[in-house]
């Protein structure tokens, strides 16, 4: 399998889906001539032309509106919000419109659209360019929320997202863009709503998302040397969630650590904890632990941002606590 980078996998998925289906188009700020702020749309403009790769004004609400209107009338838009943080400018269109149109119009309309956006800290980009706001979207019925952690998953899930008939929030990760990984040649997809055990283990379940999957895997390796075998699960699709994958793992391990990069309080991991404490309570041998960001905006300065970010060592510590318990 050839190796490529995460951002390149995104790029390939877009390219292949655009080749496959003339209804697919791409729009957003600087996605065409410049090929995207993080190069995710590079080359598409040259290949598909300005009709299908559209540079828009800086106007997130109308970028999403463009996608909704186009999806309602037979196209399959893939739009980019340059940073997760800027989606704050488009929440009405996403939440009151895209998410609800099918339902409030009685079920008939299909709304095949994808809204891509990179989240995450670690680039010293400061408080308005580093957030992870996935928990907002997972709380909204009508949206699907995907957050791939690997190169393979990024490509396969984006292809599935583009072929899906629902509005999809596709959350990439800025730091992962440069990650390398193998992807098969040719077409493949990954089903939406199916998580993956990224590492098997019997002593503790670690559910991790996006960048934290890699930190969890690193932590698991370290722990293994101490004879603690962690099972690492990446839900990949946050909504709908592959709940049973997690519950089954907890039934086996009896212990749960949840790792996510967003602010801990009311973050996505709270839902995982809640589900497990509702549905697998009798199997839990120890308190659940969450490893996530503290309750502060994301600071600019290096030592602060480093302090802010949840780390593999935090996961190790959490695992040791629940295993000791």
């Amino acid at each position: 399998m050839p190796e490529t980078r995460y951002v390149r996998a995104i790029n390939d998925a877009l390219k292949e889906e655009m080749e496959r289906d003339p209804k697919v188009f791409v729009a957003g700020e600087d996605v065409a001539i410049a090929g995207g702020s993080f190069s995710a749309t590079r080359g598409l403009y040259e290949q598909f032309g300005k009709e299908r790769v559209v540079d828009t004004p800086i106007a997130e609400s109308s970028i999403v509106g463009l996608a909704i209107g186009a999806a309602l009338t037979g196209l399959r838009p893939v739009v980019e919000i340059m940073f997760n943080d800027f989606v704050t400018c488009a929440m009405d269109q996403i939440v009151n419109q895209a998410a609800k149109i099918k339902y409030m119009f009685g079920g008939k309309p299909k709304l095949p659209l994808v809204i891509r956006m990179p989240a995450g800290a670690g680039m010293n980009a400061g408080p308005q360019h580093s957030q992870s706001l996935e928990a907002w979207f997972t709380h909204i019925p009508g949206l699907k929320v995907i957050m791939p952690s690997t190169v393979y998953d990024a490509k396969g899930l984006l292809k599935s997202a583009i072929r899906d008939d629902n509005p999809i929030i596709f959350i990439e990760n800025k730091i992962l863009y440069s990650l390398k990984g193998d992807v098969p040649e040719g077409d493949y997809t990954i089903p939406i709503g199916v998580g993956e055990i990224k590492r098997e283990g019997r002593d503790v379940t670690i559910v991790a998302t996006s960048q934290m999957v890699h930190k969890a895997l690193k932590a698991a390796q370290t722990l293994s040397a101490e004879k603690i075998e962690a099972e690492v699960i990446d839900p990949r699709t946050l909504s709908p969630l592959d709940k049973n994958l997690i519950i089954d793992s907890v039934k086996k391990t009896g212990r749960l650590v949840i790792a996510y990069e967003a602010v801990k309080f009311c973050g996505y991991g709270a839902e995982i904890a809640a589900i497990v404490s509702e549905e697998a309570f009798r199997f839990l041998k120890a308190p659940i632990k969450r490893v996530a960001a503290p309750f502060t905006p994301i600071p600019f300065s290096k030592p602060l941002e480093q302090f802010y970010l949840p780390k593999d060592t935090d996961i190790i510590q959490a695992v040791k606590e629940v295993v000791a318990n």
């Binding site: 004004p57 999403v64 209107g69 309602l72 269109q93």
Partner: protein, 320 residues
């Protein structure tokens, strides 16, 4: 496209149907038969009728909370419409949307909208799609004067202007937004002036209570759109008779404002015109009334007799 006599009778019939439909909705709402919030366009019928008449079936509209009229003018079946307003399973949205969320993609109705200006970006998306698909369709996007307060309105005009999309932005300027006069929302008189902020948008202000004027202006705007020359911002000055929603006693409204609105009744004016030009006789008018009434009654009967959705319906239709 010159209006034939037949066309004019059709237009009149549409306007009168909207009026009688909404009068009935008002009555039923005040009688406790209809739940939720109801916003009526009584007094504004010429805009809906005049703008939708020159649209083809494949063309799109996007409208607002005050949206019954445009739906009827775009060809909605008033039985199914009434059923939706009642929240019945037989309604356009199976009772899930109600008065504020009427939609029928088959008829090109992209949806009334409970969010002020919320439908405008979507309408632009549909216009983009029409251009992309080279389908020759156009979009009529309705909104009120108050919607010009929202950023989404301007963003949408800008985008449509830059991309020269086939869209007509129809401002139904009834000079009120909820309980506040136009002056709370803007410090210019003519909404159409806002077109000047964008390059390819043509702004025009017309008498929105004169259905023929509305129709003719819309025909020009549609032609412009189909020629690929870009959007029009068509401001139709009109009049809201009822409160913002049914049940609103309009205490905030100067008496003469309401009176002068009523003395400018679009339907009365058109009726006088049709009679004066000998296009119809009083008898014809009576006949039209006579045809509409049973249809409205039938719609009410249909809605009343239709089943409510089953509670478990709640859980369906979230995803495709």
């Amino acid at each position: 496209m010159e209006l034939t006599k037949e066309d004019m009778v059709k237009l009149f019939t549409t306007m009168l149907t909207i009026r009688r439909f909404e009068e009935k909705v008002s009555e039923l709402f005040l009688g406790g038969k209809i739940p939720g919030f109801i916003h009526l366009g009584i007094g504004q019928e010429a805009v809906a009728a005049g703008c939708c008449f020159p649209l083809k079936k494949e063309d799109y509209i996007a409208n607002t909370h005050r949206g019954h009229g445009q739906c009827i003018a775009k060809g909605a079946d008033i039985k199914i419409l009434m059923a939706e307003i009642f929240g019945k399973a037989t309604g356009y949205c199976k009772g899930k949307g109600g008065s504020m969320h009427l939609a029928s993609l088959d008829l090109g109705i992209l949806g009334a909208n409970g969010i002020v200006a919320g439908g405008i970006p979507i309408a632009v998306g549909a216009a983009f799609s029409a251009k992309y698909r080279k389908s020759d369709q156009v979009v009529a996007c309705f909104f009120g004067d108050g919607a010009t307060g929202e950023g989404a309105f301007y963003e949408s005009l800008n985008l449509a202007s830059i991309l020269k999309l086939p869209i007509i932005f129809v401002c139904e300027n009834n000079h009120w937004a909820e309980f506040s006069p136009q002056s709370t929302h803007m410090d210019i008189e003519k909404v159409a002036q806002k077109a000047l902020a964008f390059g390819n948008i043509k702004g025009e202000t017309i008498d929105g209570n004169d259905v023929i004027t509305v129709h003719n202006a819309m025909v020009k705007a549609i032609e412009r759109a189909r020629r690929g020359e870009g959007p029009t911002l068509l401001e139709c000055n009109t009049t809201r008779y009822r409160g913002h929603y049914e049940g609103d006693p309009q205490k905030y409204r100067p008496k003469d404002d309401l009176e002068s609105a009523k003395s400018n009744d679009a339907i009365e004016r058109f009726k006088t015109f049709l009679l004066e030009k000998n296009i119809v006789t009083s008898k014809n008018i009576e006949d039209i009334e006579g045809e509409i009434k049973p249809k409205i009654d039938e719609a009410v009967k249909f809605a009343e007799e239709s089943p409510l959705p089953l509670p478990e319906e709640t859980l369906k239709d979230v995803y495709s």
